[in-house]
């Protein structure tokens, strides 16, 4: 069976089990499956492709070293994102850079349609809510709206209490609901 076949067939747990049993090559399954998420987080932090690539490599090498400590209590992707988050924060600290999130969430898709309008409003609301927060807390909103992660998972990754995350997300959704609400009313009047 080729590595590509195995990548399709096996679960994260199976791949991890094989790596721990000495089959180092099985680790490439995990890199291929979760690489894009890690790189994407790297882009939010560094906004530089080369840095995001180095960051991704760094995160996976760390994950490999620590793989035996993954006990399956959370999803592998959550566990990996926690390593990625800590690596990004520490890299920023080391470089003494202020961490700021991407202010422009790119909007693609057909402009002028209802769908595009919804997307734009959502991106604007998410962006607005993120802009009001210190960058590390703003990431909680991104993890909820973009990565579709649960409060408990975000808390595990960032170390913020669930209630803090919940209240930030609540505010962002309120803003979104109000904006979308007024669109609906406009349309009803028209």
């Amino acid at each position: 069976m080729s590595a590509a076949d195995q990548a399709r067939g096996s679960s994260d747990e199976e791949a991890i089990g094989r790596v721990l049993d000495g089959d180092t090559e099985a680790f490439s399954i995990l890199v291929r499956r979760h690489g894009a998420r890690v790189t994407r987080l790297g882009m939010s932090f560094f906004r530089d492709e080369e840095e995001a690539a180095d960051f991704t490599q760094d995160v996976f090498v760390k994950a490999y070293t620590a793989l035996a400590s993954f006990k399956g209590r959370s999803l592998f992707s959550t566990w990996l994102l926690r390593i990625a988050y800590n690596t990004a924060i520490n890299t920023k600290k080391r470089k003494r850079e202020q961490y700021s999130l991407d202010p422009e969430i790119e909007i693609v898709g057909e402009p002028g349609t209802d769908e595009a309008h919804l997307r734009e409003e959502t991106a604007r609301a998410v962006r607005g809510a993120m802009a009001e927060l210190p960058p590390r807390q703003a990431l909680c909103i991104e993890l909820y709206f973009y990565y579709d992660l649960k409060y408990s998972e975000i808390s595990e990754i960032t170390g913020y209490p669930v209630n803090t995350i919940k209240s930030h997300v609540f505010r962002a959704k309120r803003i979104l609901r109000e904006r979308l609400g007024s669109i609906g009313e406009d349309r009803n009047e028209a």
């Binding site: 180092t24 680790f27 690489g35 490599q57 090498v61 959704k173 979104l176 979308l180």
Partner: protein
């Protein structure tokens, strides 16, 4: 359920969490809340699909251009295989044995008197000292092999040196 409560419930909803019964009953009878729920839901789905499609495409291009997978695999091939962790209790048991022997062995310590007869007392070290060194070495080994756990423990308590 009132409108205000229904909207609050919607805004507090966790990711991938279904509507509760009370909310579903309200939405079934209240067109305005139902429309609001639908709009926000649709907006979030569209936003997620859209940004994700653009970002993942971008991320995958970065991964391919920089040959990240090859670099990771080249690096990990040179590394020792990840250590199969002993469970914490496997560590605690020998630690307890060593600690307890520090207390109890001196009580039964007469058996090693023959060593003293053989070599003289010039070589004698306090048994507690030997066991103490053993315990310290064991603790150091534990910390060294659990750096990540120790680190997160210290960070959680704000004890991590800067």
């Amino acid at each position: 359920m009132r409108h205000e409560a229904a909207l609050r419930y919607l805004d507090e909803l966790d990711a991938r969490q279904g509507y509760g019964l009370a909310l579903r009953l309200h939405l079934a009878r209240c067109p305005s809340c139902a429309a609001s729920a639908r709009r926000v839901e649709a907006a979030l789905v569209a936003f997620r699909e859209d940004t994700r499609r653009a970002d993942i495409r971008g991320a995958e291009a970065i991964l391919a251009d920089s040959r990240v997978e090859e670099r990771v695999m080249a690096a990990v091939r040179l590394m020792p295989p990840p250590r199969q962790d002993f469970a914490l209790r496997d560590w605690l048991f020998p630690a307890a044995v060593i600690a307890l022997s520090m207390f109890f062995l001196p009580l039964f310590g007469q058996d090693i008197g023959f060593l003293e007869a053989l070599f003289g007392s010039g070589y004698a070290l306090s048994l507690s000292l030997v066991l103490g060194v053993g315990f310290t070495a064991y603790s150091a080994l534990f910390v060294a092999t659990h750096l990540l756990e120790v680190r997160s423990y210290l960070e959680k308590r704000g004890l991590m040196p800067r």
